[in-house]
């Protein structure tokens, strides 16, 4: 009885530790800019500036800045309309490769999506 009791406490503690560890990992991913297929556009920058995704992923850019921006691929593969604050643009990357892009209004803003 006592043995099983200790076992279940240990098991609970281990599970708890496991949840905490997972929680930590989740928080770290969040610090990079929420989910792994989203790019936040804010303060004249793309975050994350470099995003790696598996082929077939749909990436969504959301403009959180108080100025309009665009998302335009250097090689003309994709191009958003002008995104005002809170507007979004999505593109599905079916082919592997490196896709550099920039804001055509403020060309110093650059980013890339690496598709594996």
């Amino acid at each position: 009885m006592k043995g099983r009791f200790i076992f279940s406490i240990t098991a609970s503690l281990l599970l708890l530790a496991g949840y905490v560890a997972l929680g930590d990992g989740g928080a770290r991913a969040g610090a990079q800019g929420s989910a792994t297929n989203q790019v936040k556009v804010d303060n004249f920058s793309f975050a994350p500036a470099a995003l790696t995704v598996p082929a077939g992923t749909t990436v969504t850019w959301e403009n959180r800045d108080d100025i309009p921006h665009t998302v335009v691929s250097d090689d003309k593969v994709f191009k958003s309309k002008v995104l005002d604050t809170d507007e979004k643009f999505s593109y599905t990357f079916s082919k592997p490769g490196t896709y550099a892009y920039f804001c055509s209004i403020h060309p110093k803003m650059t980013g890339k999506v690496v598709v594996r």
Binding site: N43, D66, P68, V82, I105, P107
Partner: protein
């Protein structure tokens, strides 16, 4: 108060120290006029004490910039009201301007309703002559087709042109199209070729005024405040005695004198932006409502025939 030339080291009729002193006063609202080679300055509040003839130059015009009609965020929820204040200020100038130059970002999102609203406000100007160059916010989606339809009927290419006024040669350039990833403003080969031809046969004594949206000198490249191929444009103007470059885009006044070229940027009539490197990005800068109008303004430019020409005076919509 009037200052006269004390030091004329370059023997060009300009007391540069006096000129710089005048520019410092200009921030507080001084009116500087060059008359017969003598730089005279008058505090804006005391202009009515001087006879009108002592304030006149030969050519007077006003630069406004970055009206961003359509912008409605916290930095200024009513850009039409502040533009109207600027119009009233222009109409109240002691020397009526011959025309107004708008150095771009007329609208915020290139929408037809925004262009229409701008036209309506500027109809309130006493002078009906307004010349424009587009900003990057005026050429969204259509590479500037709508802008050119409204304001560039007599222009060439992407919207460049030149005209003469009282012997001064004005050149409007477009440096907001065909921007490359990671790049700055861009004039492009065709426009540069046209510029070279446009000024080739002008006399060296012709005062030149160049106006374009993005600064034609390197103000702060990290924030896109510069033009990749402006050096080539300026090389065509080396022979001229006086070149004045008027720009916008950065929503604050900045001035640089380099040899025969005076570079100047104007305040916005919509919202201020931070000074280079003082913020995370060059976006709209929120300030307390009561100080907003002290950071927006117009630029009055006066030219008097002589060896050196233009006196540039910035004044805010409201004193600090």
């Amino acid at each position: 108060m009037a200052d006269e030339i004390i030091h004329d080291h370059n023997r060009d009729g300009i007391d540069r120290r006096g000129f710089l002193k005048c520019m410092a006063w200009a921030g507080a609202g001084a009116f500087c006029v060059l008359q017969g080679g003598v730089l005279k300055s008058f505090a804006l509040g005391q202009l009515d004490r001087h006879p009108a003839s002592s304030l006149k130059g030969e050519l007077s015009f006003v630069q406004i910039s970055d009206s961003h009609i359509g912008f409605n965020k916290a930095a200024n929820p009513d850009v039409i009201a502040t533009l109207q204040t600027a119009v009233a200020k222009i109409n109240a100038l002691p020397t009526p301007p011959a025309f107004v130059l708008h150095t771009g970002d007329l609208t915020h999102l290139s929408k037809p309703a925004e262009f229409d609203a701008l036209d309506q406000v500027l109809k309130g100007l006493n002078t009906s002559r307004v010349f424009y160059v587009p900003g990057e916010h005026d050429v969204l989606e259509d590479n500037g087709a709508q802008y050119r339809e409204r304001f560039g009927k007599d222009a060439l290419g992407d919207g460049w042109y030149s005209f003469d006024q009282k012997g001064v040669h004005f050149i409007g350039l477009v440096n907001v199209l065909n921007l490359k990833a990671g790049g700055l403003g861009n004039l492009g080969h065709d426009q540069l070729e046209w510029l070279e031809k446009d000024v080739k046969h002008l006399k060296h004594s012709t005062p030149i005024v160049l106006f374009a949206h993005i600064p034609l000198w390197s103000v702060y490249p990290e924030w896109g405040w510069g033009t990749d191929d402006s050096a080539q444009a300026l090389s065509y103007l080396k022979k001229f005695g006086t070149v004045t470059v008027l720009n916008g885009h950065i929503h604050q006044t900045m001035q640089k004198v380099e040899g025969n070229v005076t570079f100047h940027t104007a305040m916005s009539t919509a919202f201020p932006q931070p000074q280079p490197g003082t913020a995370a990005s060059p976006g709209p800068m929120k300030v307390p409502a009561e100080t907003l109008r002290s950071l927006l303004g117009i630029t009055d430019v006066d030219f008097v025939r002589g060896r050196h020409a233009l006196a540039i005076t910035d004044s805010a919509l409201e004193p600090k």
